[in-house]
């Protein structure tokens, strides 16, 4: 059974487009009535944008580490040579 959604859950479902049709309709009405709600939606989108940036930055840093390992550590020498000879 679904419990009553908190406002943040409702905002998240609205932004993600996962709200059930009746909830979506109710939320649209709330957006018109509550002056701060559209701002909260805006901040929520920005939050998700920052989370995306954070996650991507972390992944890029792992990729950089792996690259450095492959192109410096002795155990990856044959891999390294195979790649580098392509650019000679």
């Amino acid at each position: 059974m679904r419990t009553l959604l908190t406002e943040t859950q409702q905002i998240d479902e609205h932004v993600q487009g996962t709200a059930a049709p009746d909830e979506a309709l109710l939320f649209e009405a709330k957006l018109l009535l509550d002056a701060e709600l559209p701002l909260k939606v805006q901040w929520h989108k920005q939050t998700l944008g920052l989370v995306q940036q954070y996650g991507r930055k972390n992944l890029v840093s792992i990729i950089g580490d792996v690259h450095n390992q492959l192109f410096t550590l002795p155990q990856h020498q044959s891999f390294r040579q195979k790649i580098l000879q392509l650019f000679r």
Partner: protein, 178 residues
């Protein structure tokens, strides 16, 4: 592709993809007259795109990992060749899902830096959920929560916390431009 669990597992995954898919990408870029650095840049961007597609469940399953990565890399290379520039390709190719829908704030870099330090745990939980798109059960296990319910509560607390930081930041900015 099995999307990651922990940092160490993501690293293992990237290592495996690098070993299997970088040689064909490097061969292609070399054949097209590109340098080692070009091959690295194109491949690393392809890895990010591939990872994000996999996390979102948007991969076509009939292709092998290597073939997929080579396909993305060729696309990126073609863009580079056509545009004569290879700068912000990643954001152009597949930007953040939500960032472009929100008005960009001038102090976003500072905000991200602040959140990385003061709100690291929240950012980790939120990125496990929204970026890596891991199931709640797994996130609960990774972050030491008793179950899905408690980690869900924490997720919403974190969303509120980050949103509040953004709000404060926006208010400060308004003061600044007034």
């Amino acid at each position: 592709m099995p999307v990651n669990n922990t940092q160490a597992e993501t690293e293992k995954l990237i290592m495996r993809l690098y070993k299997s898919a970088f040689p064909p990408v490097a061969r292609y870029v070399a054949k097209m007259g590109g340098s080692f650095d070009d091959a690295r840049d194109v491949f690393q961007d392809a890895l990010v795109i591939y990872y994000e597609k996999a996390a979102a469940g948007k991969l076509e399953l009939q292709k092998t990992e290597s073939a997929y990565l080579l396909g993305i890399a060729k696309h990126l290379w073609f863009k580079k060749y056509r545009d004569g520039l290879y700068d912000v390709s990643l954001d152009q190719f597949e930007g953040p899902e939500f960032a472009d829908k929100a008005d960009p704030q001038p102090s976003e870099g500072r905000l991200l830096y602040y959140l990385e330090t003061a709100g690291k745990k929240c950012m980790e939980i939120l990125s496990a959920f929204y970026y890596d798109k891991l199931p709640m059960k797994q996130i609960a296990g990774l972050f030491g929560y008793a179950g899905e319910r408690s980690v869900t509560v924490q997720k919403y607390k974190c969303l509120e916390k980050v949103r509040e930081t953004i709000k404060q930041n926006a208010l400060q900015y308004e003061d600044f431009i007034d």
